[in-house]
């Protein structure tokens, strides 16, 4: 079976329905500025080490890392996977186990050496020997790579993976074989030599990064010659910098109440990029009375998901559903919206045996214990603390008492996800939570499968035999994109009838850019404004 990948990619990209990208709250001023710039100052919110694929720390670092290191494929403003370093007609064979790619002309590393298929082979295999990073997982899934010639490589996977273009080809940064081949530990290599449009000219720990444009980049020289990135950890300082014009942009986002303030300034434009990180209330399914599905179902009626989201984010968010995944993805099951209905919640609780109340109006569980619980939340995450506060008030109306306990991040993790290993159990009642991205099709199995090998993110301790069966049989047997969608939709139905957690939704990320200093900013779904498209010259 030979199949052109493009159509598949389009199916696989989970972002067709809405052209919601770059829904700029304020238009008009975007064309006043210049389309090229000598240098821009862009704040980076964290110190991300030397920005090599093995040393950056968080998603903030990944943003800048992507400017320095190229990937074979990439995601565009519509969050579709598109070719970047390779020719359009790359091929997929053998039920998604063999991927053949051909490099475009003119690519080289920042040290001047040419980029060849050997480097691709090295990039996809070397991380398997390394201690750090998500890249290890990709490398582990590879059986072998055959180098056909200088430009062409054939990647063979151990197992069929329909999602490999996104999770593998678009994620694996290409590194220089010359630089790393004699290095047993990649994390001590501090010089970043990529093949991207910018090279890291200078890095001062805790102070700043300085990026310089690669003038002979194979897709053309970037429009901005120098990008200076001071490390600024305080959000207010960044906002002040943006307002005063000291900063042209920042890796971090702003909150909704600032829209008006920024709207007053003609030089500034705000971009709203759809986000893919869900905010979730984890429920410890293993602990009584949360182990009772009726109790959990009652909670879904008792909490005003939509109200809370619009309180926090106004219209700049996608409201979550019982289906958990973003409703605009093409495999999202529709009609599973949350329904805020206090009387229904009370009714369900009464029916489930929570009908007695203590003197102060708190419901008692069937075995007579009062319904008071603790909600853990990161002390550093305001939105989640506020959500927890609002939930506490709403649950009061159905006779459930909740105490919010804000703690330092790793402390909460140690309770909710000890050693990041779900098989080690958990020690909490409720916890405000979130995940980096919900975009991979194995998101649902990872969150809800009771098999710790598959359900690596099942921090709620969710157990549902029907769901497990779907994962073990139907999901494994998937051969086509259509199959996949069908299975995923079935899964959503199961978890909506037996909810294991509550998904509040996906906040947009609002980013401010100075369009007077530079007007080439491109924003998109799940795409930070600091991206290759923003700086790429006209093509």
């Amino acid at each position: 079976m030979k199949k052109r990948i493009i159509s598949l990619v389009l199916i696989m990209t989970m972002a067709l329905a809405i052209t919601g990208c770059t829904s700029t709250p304020k238009d008009g001023a975007t064309n006043s500025g210049s389309s090229i710039a000598e240098s821009l100052t862009i704040a980076i919110a964290k110190d991300e080490n030397s920005l090599t694929p093995f040393t950056y720390v968080s998603s903030t670092g990944l943003i800048v890392n992507r400017l320095i290191y190229d990937t074979l494929l990439t995601t565009n403003a519509e969050n579709e996977v598109v070719p970047w370093m390779i020719e359009d007609d790359y091929q997929v064979e053998n039920d998604f186990t063999t991927y053949t790619v051909t490099l475009l002309e003119g690519q080289k590393f920042h040290d001047g050496s040419p980029l060849t298929a050997e480097d691709i082979k090295f990039s996809f295999t070397y991380p398997a020997t390394q201690k750090v990073s998500s890249l290890k997982k990709i490398a582990n899934s590879i059986k072998s790579i055959d180098v056909i010639d200088d430009k062409t490589a054939v990647i063979n996977l151990k197992n069929p993976d329909i999602n490999f273009p996104r999770s593998g080809l678009a994620a694996m940064r290409i590194i220089s074989k010359k630089q790393y081949e004699s290095q047993p530990d990649a994390s001590v290599v501090n010089e970043s030599i990529g093949s991207g449009m910018y090279k890291l000219a200078e890095y001062k720990v805790g102070e700043y990064y300085k990026l310089e444009a690669v003038s002979d980049y194979f897709k053309g020289a970037p429009n901005v010659k120098n990008i200076n990135m001071p490390i600024m950890k305080d959000n207010t300082a960044i906002q002040q910098g943006l307002l005063s014009g000291d900063l042209a942009a920042a890796t971090s986002s702003i909150s909704v109440e600032m829209l008006e303030t920024y709207g007053k300034d003609d030089a500034l434009a705000v971009f709203a990029n759809a986000g893919y990180s869900p905010m979730i209330m984890n429920i410890n399914n293993g602990r009584a009375p949360m182990d009772n599905p009726e109790f959990r179902t009652a909670l879904t009626y008792a909490i005003d998901v939509k109200g809370i989201m619009s309180t926090l984010y106004r219209e700049y968010a996608t409201i979550g559903t019982k289906a958990v995944i973003r409703p605009d993805m093409d495999y999202a099951q529709s009609g599973l919206d949350y329904d805020y209905n206090v009387s229904k919640a009370n009714e369900l609780l009464d029916k489930a045996g929570f009908d007695k109340k203590s003197d102060n109006g708190i419901r008692l569980t069937p075995d007579g214990k009062p319904c008071n619980f603790t909600m853990l939340v990161y002390a550093s995450n305001n939105d989640r603390i506020r959500t927890a506060e609002l939930i506490t008030e709403q649950l009061k109306a159905v006779g459930i008492e909740m105490t919010v306990k804000a703690m330092e991040m790793d402390t909460v993790d140690a309770f909710v996800w000890p050693d990041f290993d779900v098989s080690k159990g958990r020690d909490y009642d409720f916890a405000m939570w979130g995940w980096g991205t919900s975009i991979n099709p194995d998101f649902l199995p990872a969150m809800f499968s009771s098999n710790p090998e598959i359900g690596t993110s099942n921090v709620c301790g969710y157990v549902n035999p029907t769901f497990d069966k779907l994962v073990e049989t139907d999901f494994k047997a998937v051969k086509t994109a259509e199959d996949l969608n069908a299975v995923l939709k079935n899964m959503q139905k199961v978890i909506s009838e037996d909810p294991g957690l509550i998904t509040f939704g996906y906040a947009d990320s609002l980013q401010v850019c100075n369009t007077e200093k530079y007007n080439g900013w491109v924003s998109g779904k799940g795409l930070n404004v600091i991206n290759v498209y923003s700086f790429l010259g006209a093509q």
Partner: protein, 273 residues
């Protein structure tokens, strides 16, 4: 006379604040936890100080916040000062082995880093206002203890103490009626600083991502205002200034009391000179 007026102003403010804390339920127009309006509303007849980022009434938050803030400030200061006075005075007075042991403990406490210890203690506590106060109190006594120790040694060395000791005054008597009395102004000043630091520390902890911003307090109001960019949106006038003033009010009232206390204590001698 003037000192008396200043003192009574201070006492009045404190009493008023305590009353507000005690009767918060009946004084506050709304529950501070409930969503009672739109978000970020400006001050109006319904909401005297507007509403916050999730539509809670700021004025009600302020009134309820008095409770936690006063509790944290007073409790942490009391804990810190009690330990400091006990350790400082005992160490300075009795000297010898006891002094050496106590001073080692003090110095170790002084050198132990604040940040991780707070995280460790917070993880094992309930995250309530009480545990926060205890943590802050336990972490902040050593400096005061050392100051009190050296003052105690000085007092112990003074001649008149020797005289009455020679005439048979017990250690307890001398500590209780002389050492303590002489240290009192210093303890008072230090205590005031601790009350203020306690209230402030609570908000700073939130700023560092360590506190419990879910508890209503003046500190947490300021913290949320700050994280909602009150400074840039202009809402700081009704969102940050009032709780800020409340914190200032407490420390200034305490200072006024201390001032008049000190004045009255030796007013007579001043008159004669």
């Amino acid at each position: 006379m003037r000192s008396k007026i200043i003192g009574s102003i201070g006492v009045t403010i404190l009493v008023l604040l305590v009353l507000i804390a005690v009767f918060a339920e009946s004084l506050a127009p709304y529950s501070p936890y409930e969503q009672v309006g739109t978000t970020f509303a400006r001050p109006s007849a319904e909401h005297w100080l507007g509403t916050n980022d999730i539509g809670q009434d700021i004025f009600s938050e302020l009134i309820y916040g008095t409770r936690n803030s006063l509790a944290v400030g007073l409790l942490s200061a009391t804990i810190a000062m009690t330990i400091a006075v006990l350790v400082g005075v005992m160490s300075g007075w009795f000297g010898g082995k006891l002094d050496r042991i106590l001073m080692k403990v003090t110095t170790v406490f002084l050198t132990i880093p604040f940040l991780p210890v707070v995280i460790i203690l917070a993880a094992f506590s309930k995250g309530s206002v009480w545990s926060m106060s205890i943590i802050l109190g336990v972490m902040s006594w050593p400096v005061v203890a050392r100051i009190l120790r050296s003052e105690t040694i000085k007092i112990k060395g003074s001649n008149y103490i020797h005289m009455i000791q020679g005439m048979g005054a017990s250690d307890f008597y001398v500590i209780r009626y002389h050492v303590f009395r002489e240290l009192l102004p210093l303890i008072f000043y230090r205590g005031i600083i601790r009350v203020k630091s306690g209230i402030l520390a609570e908000s700073s902890m939130s700023f560092l991502g360590l506190g419990n911003p879910a508890a209503k307090s003046w500190g947490s109001i300021i913290y949320y205002a700050q994280s909602s960019n009150a400074l840039l949106t202009g809402s700081w006038i009704w969102w940050i200034i009032p709780p800020g003033l409340c914190i200032c009010l407490v420390s200034m009232a305490l200072m006024m009391v201390a001032y008049s206390f000190e004045e009255r204590n030796d007013a007579r001698m001043e008159d004669k000179l």
